[in-house]
């Protein structure tokens, strides 16, 4: 069998697609970030970006948000996935419920969580109705950056854990029961079985889920805009700001390259940390 050429043939459709629809426009945009109007290479746009007073804040906020959201999502999804595998009846129903947020766009999620946290929202209604608070609180006020951050993190965890869950559940389904049973025979507790058998065998799925989540977390925008207003600048928001409000596509492209850069970096780090040794697959 022509094994040498075959993998490339299999990749061809996706590569053509990516080449035309992604690489071509990407190169054009990336060029904007590093060239001036006369077509000369320049670092001016990057200096302008780095020199802008919001850059550091936006960069940090994006990282913090990712750091706050993704690990919780991974743990939560793992927990949900193992609950599901431990279920005897009703698996389908619970899984369906837990994957509902999958179908909810970030715009819709923003609307939903704003209706909870805004001053006249459901949370305040609850607190006031039950006499816990006398006055509705302004959870999303500019001086409560912590609360805003928390609200955004909650909304993101709510919205995007389902992606991780689906990938992990599918991955767990592929782990043969025998391994669990073998470990049980050797006296491993439930927790040990999870950490010593399930987790290592789940590595490829964990890797996939983690990479996708981290990349998507760097691109979060709609939920932050809905809940944070202008209080929590993030990189993706700055891309919009420079592209459509400040009308400086060069600096917007520079911001986009920063997002791309940290995404690739994180991807490589995750790929390396969660690499599966050759031959250690199921």
């Amino acid at each position: 069998m022509q094994t040498r050429a075959l993998p490339y043939l299999l990749l061809l459709p996706s590569v053509i697609l990516l080449g035309v629809l992604f690489l071509y426009p990407f190169v054009l945009v990336a060029w904007q970030a590093i060239s001036d109007d006369a077509g000369q290479l320049t670092s001016a746009h990057f200096s302008e970006m780095l020199g802008h007073w919001k850059f550091n804040t936006a960069f940090k906020n994006t990282l913090y948000l990712t750091l706050a959201v993704v690990p919780i999502q991974m743990v939560l999804a793992l927990y949900m996935a193992s609950l599901v595998t431990g279920m005897k009846r009703g698996r389908d129903a619970f899984l369906y419920i837990w994957t509902i947020p999958l179908g909810i766009s970030d715009l819709a999620a923003g609307i939903i969580w704003l209706s909870i946290f805004e001053q006249s929202g459901f949370l305040n209604s609850f607190l006031v109705t039950f006499g816990i608070n006398e006055q509705p609180e302004t959870f999303l006020g500019y001086q409560n950056k912590g609360t805003i951050f928390l609200a955004i993190a909650l909304a993101e965890i709510w919205r995007a854990t389902a992606i991780v869950l689906v990938i992990l559940v599918a991955g767990m389904g592929l782990i043969p029961k025998e391994y669990q049973e073998a470990a049980e025979v050797f006296g491993a507790s439930r927790w040990q079985r999870f950490t010593k058998v399930t987790l290592p065998l789940l590595k490829p799925s964990l890797q996939t889920a983690l990479i996708l989540r981290v990349i998507l977390a760097f691109e979060v925008f709609a939920v932050v805009a809905a809940l944070g207003g202008t209080n929590l600048p993030i990189l993706m928001g700055e891309v919009y700001q420079w592209q459509f409000v400040l009308r400086d596509p060069n600096v917007a492209a520079a911001f986009a390259l920063v997002i791309l850069g940290i995404s690739i970096l994180c991807t490589l780090v995750i790929m390396w940390f969660l690499r599966t040794p050759k031959g250690a697959t199921i």
């Binding site: 053509i16 704003l114 805004e118 302004t138 006020g141 207003g229 409000v245 400040l246 009308r247 400086d248």
Partner: protein
């Protein structure tokens, strides 16, 4: 070769899937205004149905709106016949817009027409509709007015005192300001705060008077609902009563006025030491060079400025006409409430009307950012007023010099770039 075949196949499929592309005589009206679907519906059914040709009204968010227009301009061909948006969005599209000088513009506000030239000698856009910032209050708030203050001729100091009274009385700040991501707060600083305190928008950006203006605003901010940084359309918070008194432009207050006309009043923006600064919001319509049917587009454009169309537009969008028209009596509550406020504002003794920035080209966005950044640093960030103003003044000066834009009202006319003292 291979690619070509694939492309041909793709095109065929595209045709198959979409059932494509009859050469349509419809004019595609691509607009950022009247985007909420109930407004869009009114535009289609009430405003545009009177046009003898076919119109396809497609509202869009600013991002896709700009992207699409730029794409068509770059590609050199397009579907869009007519574009409609805020003055600020038109500025850097200037090169792609057809000259509209041959359109009959009798009756259209001359100042706005001048704005529509975008600093060129061609008519780049024709004014379509206008709004202005006014204030709105829940009637419950009126009892907290400081003594002796007349709501129809309020000063900034009285507004601050009023906001304080409300906060003290209710336990939570009841003044609201649209400082959210889509709020148009830069226009407040440019057209209201600065003119009212410095009688200038650019020249006295870092003056002592400006410092006073910012300090006054900081005072007001103490009694401003802290959620304001998330507010973009004050009608929502007025309706939920998260705020009782708010500042926003007429179209963004309309929903509150219309839903509960008896609960709200509209009144003029406050006055400062140098008068009652205010500024219009102008929405224009223009035709891109790539319009498929230029004549039909121009016919539609002319239709848009007809008095009857303008009145229907007002009903649909709560934006006011740019031509002189007699408004009928059966206008919605929002028109009556905000109309009264606008009349009181422009008719007041201390009225100090300003103009939208002109001649900035594609630096308009950055010009606005100077004011917004100053706000975020001074008011939200708590940074030192003097330092921030000095810092932002440098950026402002650079922008004015790069654009080489002369001063506009209320700044006195200048030779060459408008100076920042």
């Amino acid at each position: 070769m291979m690619k070509k075949t694939a492309l041909a196949a793709a095109l065929t499929l595209g045709t198959a899937v979409t059932g494509i592309q009859t050469a349509n005589a419809e004019v595609l009206f691509w607009s950022t205004q009247a985007a909420p679907i109930e407004e869009a519906q009114a535009m289609r059914e009430k405003v545009l149905s009177g046009f003898e040709g076919e119109v396809d009204f497609q509202p869009s968010e600013t991002g896709p709106w700009i992207t699409r227009i730029q794409a068509e301009a770059t590609a050199g061909s397009g579907k869009i016949g007519l574009i409609g948006s805020l003055h600020g969005n038109m500025i850097d599209l200037s090169d792609n817009l057809a000259d509209l000088s041959d359109i009959d513009t009798t009756g259209v506000n001359g100042t706005f027409l001048e704005l529509g030239k975008l600093g060129t000698d061609q008519q780049k856009y024709i004014p379509w509709m206008q709004a202005t910032y006014i204030m709105a209050a829940n009637k419950k708030a009126l009892e907290h007015l400081p003594e002796g203050a007349d709501v129809m001729s309020l000063s900034y100091d009285e507004l601050i005192a009023w906001a304080k009274n409300m906060a003290d009385a209710t336990g939570s700040p009841k003044f609201g300001f649209p400082a959210g991501p889509k709020g148009l707060k830069h226009r407040f600083f440019q057209g209201y705060l600065y003119p009212s305190y410095t009688n200038s928008m650019v020249t006295k950006f870092r003056s002592a008077e400006a410092e006073g203006a910012w300090n006054a605003f900081k005072d007001l901010w103490q009694y401003t609902n802290p959620g304001s940084t998330g507010f973009s359309f004050m009608q929502e918070q007025l309706l939920t009563e998260e705020v009782w008194v708010a500042f926003d432009h007429t179209a963004r207050l309309a929903d509150a006025f219309n839903q509960r006309p008896d609960d709200f009043i509209g009144f003029p923006a406050p006055a400062g030491p140098t008068g009652r600064g205010f500024m219009p919001v102008v929405v224009g319509v223009a035709i891109p060079n790539t319009a498929p049917d230029m004549d039909e587009a121009k016919a539609l454009l002319a239709y848009m400025t007809k008095p009857e169309t303008q009145i229907e537009t007002l009903r649909a969008t709560s934006f006011f006409p740019v031509v002189d028209v007699e408004l009928p009596d059966d206008m919605p509550a929002s028109v009556q409430l905000s109309g009264a406020a606008i009349a009181a504002m422009s008719g007041s003794d201390d009225a100090n009307p300003g103009l939208l920035p002109v001649g900035l080209g594609d630096l308009g966005g950055k010009f606005n950012a100077v004011y917004v950044d100053a706000f975020e640093r001074i008011v939200l960030g708590g940074q030192d007023v003097r330092e921030v103003l000095d810092d932002q003044a440098d950026s402002l000066r650079k922008i004015m010099e790069e654009a080489n834009a002369p001063c506009w009202a209320p700044d006195a006319a200048s030779d060459g770039a408008c100076p920042v003292d």
